[in-house]
Amino acid sequence: MCDLFAMSAAKRSEAARSLPVFGVRARKNMDGWGIGFFRNDRAHVEKSANRIYVPGHLHDSFQRLARVIRSPTIIAHVRLQTSGKKDECHAHPFVLSFLGTDWIFAHNGKSPAIESYRSRGERLEAGSDSARTFEYLRDYLLFYHRGDPMVYSFVDALKRSTSRLMKEYPGGYNYLLTNGSVLCAFTNHRHFMLLKDSRQLENALLLTTVAEGLSPEPWQVFKAEEGCGLLLLIVGGELLLKQVVTPLRG
């Protein structure tokens, strides 16, 4: 199963300590890696189809990027191929621009049903469930939030879109979505581990799917109840709110 990492801080920060630990602890995933971040409000992604780890060595570029990337929000993904080809194009994160800003998206899970989804908007080149999931969320975020932002705030629109996704294309979804200011983390399978105010890693809010966390500190487990999803909204290094998401009825 792929693994996810995110760091959110109040100002531009590095993840020079936590990213390499993440790379090592997620090394069972051998089909590529990627790091997404923001510079001057624009999304940037560096990714590769290579293994993140060969015995004794973390990928050279991953190590170097971990040292120099500086951004208020950084997300990373280590891939175990379950859908789509094994190449750089299918490695996460993905980027789309909508609602007047760039968005970075990374996903793990298994949701083959969504592969049949055909967006009428801009399409990602990758042919995987993750790419289709991102397009689906983009399409319905625009439909709800841009349609009537006073009825559907951004969080309400994302909840509604995800709720609809769970109903129309049932599956296991774990995703991270960020525009640099706001980080949304959703899970309806597995869990997220969160840590604030780390003394060993960065003084930011850290999130990962790696079960044991990234340090021997008291990581908090966030897991959805059976049949539901859990959406976390993180802004400026703070957990702002937690929302339960249920599949749309009717």
Binding site: P72, G100, T101, P149, V155, N179, V182, Q220, E238
Partner: protein, 246 residues
């Protein structure tokens, strides 16, 4: 009645256009003004007891500040002479540091008995007006709740703190609380007006208590539902993230 303005963006925004428009709309509030913003995570506050407008001329410093401030989060307050009175004219916005952030706070409204509140935390705000006690109360309760549960969530903590505040000290509240990344607004009277504006560098979101908004653009009305005891509005970057009734 005093008025409030918040400007939130995903980049350091220069409020050259909207701060003067806010001052213009607040001409009737003739007893002081204040502007708070962030630079490298620290709060900076500039305020004055002088009228923002005098004899059809905008206050010189207010004009100049509007030209030079740039920040992802800007709060402004224009004081009224009648309610909240002359005594608080040079006080807003207030600033306190807690929960790992510097915070700015502005408030309008009338609250009974809140001046009896005595915080046990430091620092205390060295001014004897209701808005200062409200800010201390919210700080105290949020710090207490988050120390018990660090993963409670900021909005839950603020929501519970505000519920306690309104129950213990009934009154009219309309406040903006912001750190460098997020704006949390609450009101249980009047309304808020919101505008998402496209700047050359990106989007900007404006929130104000001024009834008609600040311009002829498409300002959106945010009001209270029928039996609601109040409403929270959450803004991050230029995004209207969430609204929740108390």
């Amino acid at each position: 009645m005093c008025d409030l303005l918040a400007i939130s963006a995903g980049f350091d925004y220069g409020p050259r256009e909207y701060l003067p428009l806010f001052a213009e709309r607040g001409k009737r509030n003739v007893s002081g003004w204040g502007i708070g913003f962030f630079r490298e995570g620290r709060t900076l506050v500039e305020n004055s007891a002088e009228s923002v407008y005098h004899e059809n001329q905008m206050h010189d410093s207010f004009q100049r500040l509007a030209r030079v401030i740039d920040s992802r989060m800007i709060l402004a307050h224009i004081s009224c002479p009648l309610i909240g009175g002359q005594h608080d004219q040079a006080a807003h916005p207030f600033t306190l540091s807690f929960l790992g952030h510097s915070w700015l706070f502005v408030h309008v409204g009338i609250v009974r008995d809140i001046d009896r509140y005595r915080t046990r935390m430091e620092p205390r705000l060295d001014v004897n007006i209701p808005s200062a006690r409200i800010f201390e109360f919210l700080r105290d309760r949020m710090v207490s709740m988050v120390s018990e549960d660090p993963y409670l969530g900021l909005l839950s903590a603020l929501s519970m703190a505000t519920r306690e505040l309104v129950e213990r000290y009934p009154g009219r509240y309309n406040y903006f609380l912001a750190n460098e990344s997020v704006l949390l607004a609450f009101f249980n009277f009047r309304q808020l007006m919101m505008l998402k504006e496209h700047d050359t560098l990106g989007n900007v979101l404006l929130l104000t208590t001024v009834e008609e908004g600040l311009s002829g653009e498409d300002w959106r009305y945010i009001g209270l539902e029928g039996d609601s005891a109040g409403k929270f509005v959450v803004i991050g970057g230029a995004d209207f993230l969430y609204q929740q009734s108390l």
